[in-house]
Structure formats: structure tokens, C-alpha cells
Subunit: 147 residues, 2 copies
DNA sequence: GTTGTTGCAAACAATTTGCATATTC
DNA sequence: GAATATGCAAATTGTTTGCAACAAC
């Protein structure tokens, strides 16, 4: 169904910015919206491809910028190399705990930290816009494997 | 003076790993150690160059890996693109508050957050090794400029 | 003298861009 | 029909790597 509310929002935003509501943009957004993983542009490229939807990598990169700008997705810079993107449409804010051995990502929410962050922003006179908070370590499974 | 204790440490570590104590490595480490900024490899390359010290960019990249591994520096992935490195030799741990307008970086320390992080690690059975915590926003000066 | 290191240039990987063609409004 | 998007291939950027010459041990 193309009547998901986020698609309506997207349409409205595009119109306001004089941008076009193209099938590629819609498919890319739907792909992200229906996933709760942390996707790279290539992941999206291949998922769409499998579904018979063609969108070039260039278009995906271009669209991701647009989606980040309008808060549909969040760009993550886990580890190095490629960027990852996560659905930000529904679902509450969270941060990430990353296993450096197996790459597994756990999402965590810690309201006390959020509050402290706000206080730090205030203390230094910053108007905060976003934050990156990633904890890196070795998960239980990987710790056991090393034995 | 080449008798700074960290240089002695460095020498010892290199020996233990069967690596050589070369002038390039020493100069690169000294350059970082004497700075309290967040340097890119290119910054180091040019600073050394100005001082008449020649070290290729490739060597700097290689040395940074070594220094990160042995905890002399911390690698930061602020914003995107190039990596930055900061002196970790003395000075206590801190995180960063970054102005997205002017690029200014403020270092902050918030022990309560550190404690909460540990608790999260424990909760999920992780042995934490490092973390990235960056707050992004607009600093006081830049907020005023927009008027 | 052996082994690890450097510098250079070429290789790489992720991302961006220019431009002709296609699509939306 | 005018204006924006797309796909492609080429360009760019940060970083890594192979290898011959060089330096540390």
C-alpha cells in the first residue's frame, strides 16, 4: 500500500521543495521503512534489485542524503568504511552497542544519558541537533569463543 | 628532549614487537604529543614538513595505526571524510561537542555518563573496549550570527 | 647482513559529479 | 514543454598497498 502516512509526508515535503515524487525515491524510502536493520547503500541497491526494482547506486546515495535531511533515516558511521542508515520513521530514539568481533549491533535506550546530554549542551550554550553514541566491545558470545 | 617518558614507553613497545624505533615514528609521535588539537594525517604531514622533517603521508597513516593500537592516540571519526587523531598520552578521557556551523570542538567530561555506559555494557554482557560519544549542535556564537 | 621501514606511485573503496536521456509536473 | 531526476561512466577523496631502495638492529 502506498498510502502509508510517511509516504504522504514524503510527497508533501518533496512538493514543498520543488522536488519530484519519483518511483525510485519511493521505492528506496519503502525499502528502508520496512527494515529495522542498519543498511548500507549497497544493501538497498541489491534488495531492490532482487525485487525487480531498478535504481542506480548513485540515485540511492542521492536519495539517502535527502532522507537524512528530512529525518526519515539516520546515518550511522559505525566502524569505518561505508555508512549505514536506519529507519527513523517510527520507533523511538536509541543508540548502539557494537561487537567488534562479530559486528552484531544492539540498540539501547538510556534516558538518563539523554538528559545528561541535554545538560551538557545547555552548559556550553549549544543548541543540540543530533548525537552519536556508540559503545564498542566484545559481546558475550565472542568472549566465550576466545576460550 | 627525547627523554620524555612516553618516548621511552614507545621505544620499549616497539622493541617488544620487533619493530624499529625510526626517526619518522618518533617525530610523528612527538608532533601529536605536543598538540592538544584533533589532527588529520595531512595536518601532521604539513606540520612536520614546515619543521623540515620529512615523512610521507603513507608513513603517517601507517604510524597512526600503530599509535592507536598502543593507546598513544585516539582516532576520532567526527563528521565524515577524514579521520582525526588526538593525543591520549596524558590528559584524562573526554568526549566531544561539535559545532556543525564553524567546526569548533569542545571537549567535555561527564562521569555520570561514563558510569551509565559501563552499566549498559554489563547489562548486555559486553566487555567494553571503547566508545564514541559526540554531541552535534550549533554553538552560541553561530546561533547569534544567524540573526 | 638480516629484517623491518620508508617513499613513491599505483591501487582501492566509498562516494560524488557531469552530462545526455528520461520522467514528472 | 519546462524543469528536475536518473543512469552511466568518469572523477574525486581518503586511505592502503606492492615494491625497490634504505635504515635499524
Amino acid at each position: 500500500m502506498n498510502t502509508e502516512p510517511y509516504l504522504e509526508d514524503f510527497k508533501r515535503i518533496l512538493k514543498k521543495e520543488n522536488l519530484r515524487y519519483t518511483s525510485q525515491r519511493v521505492e528506496i524510502l519503502k525499502e528502508i521503512a520496512s527494515s529495522n536493520h542498519h543498511l548500507e547503500c549497497e544493501d538497498i541497491y541489491f534488495s531492490l534489485r532482487e525485487k525487480g526494482v531498478d535504481a542506480s547506486l548513485a540515485t540511492i546515495y542521492r536519495t539517502m542524503d535527502l532522507l537524512v535531511k528530512h529525518q526519515f533515516v539516520r546515518k550511522l558511521n559505525i566502524g569505518e568504511g561505508r555508512a549505514r542508515y536506519e529507519n527513523k520513521i517510527d520507533g523511538e530514539h536509541h543508540d548502539h552497542l557494537i561487537c567488534t568481533e562479530c559486528g552484531n549491533i544492539i540498540e539501547f535506550v538510556e534516558n538518563d544519558i539523554e538528559v545528561l546530554q541535554e545538560e551538557i549542551g545547555k552548559k556550553y550554550g549549544f543548541k543540540l541537533t543530533k548525537h552519536i553514541h556508540q559503545l564498542y566491545g566484545i559481546c558475550e558470545d565472542c568472549q566465550n569463543e576466545t576460550d
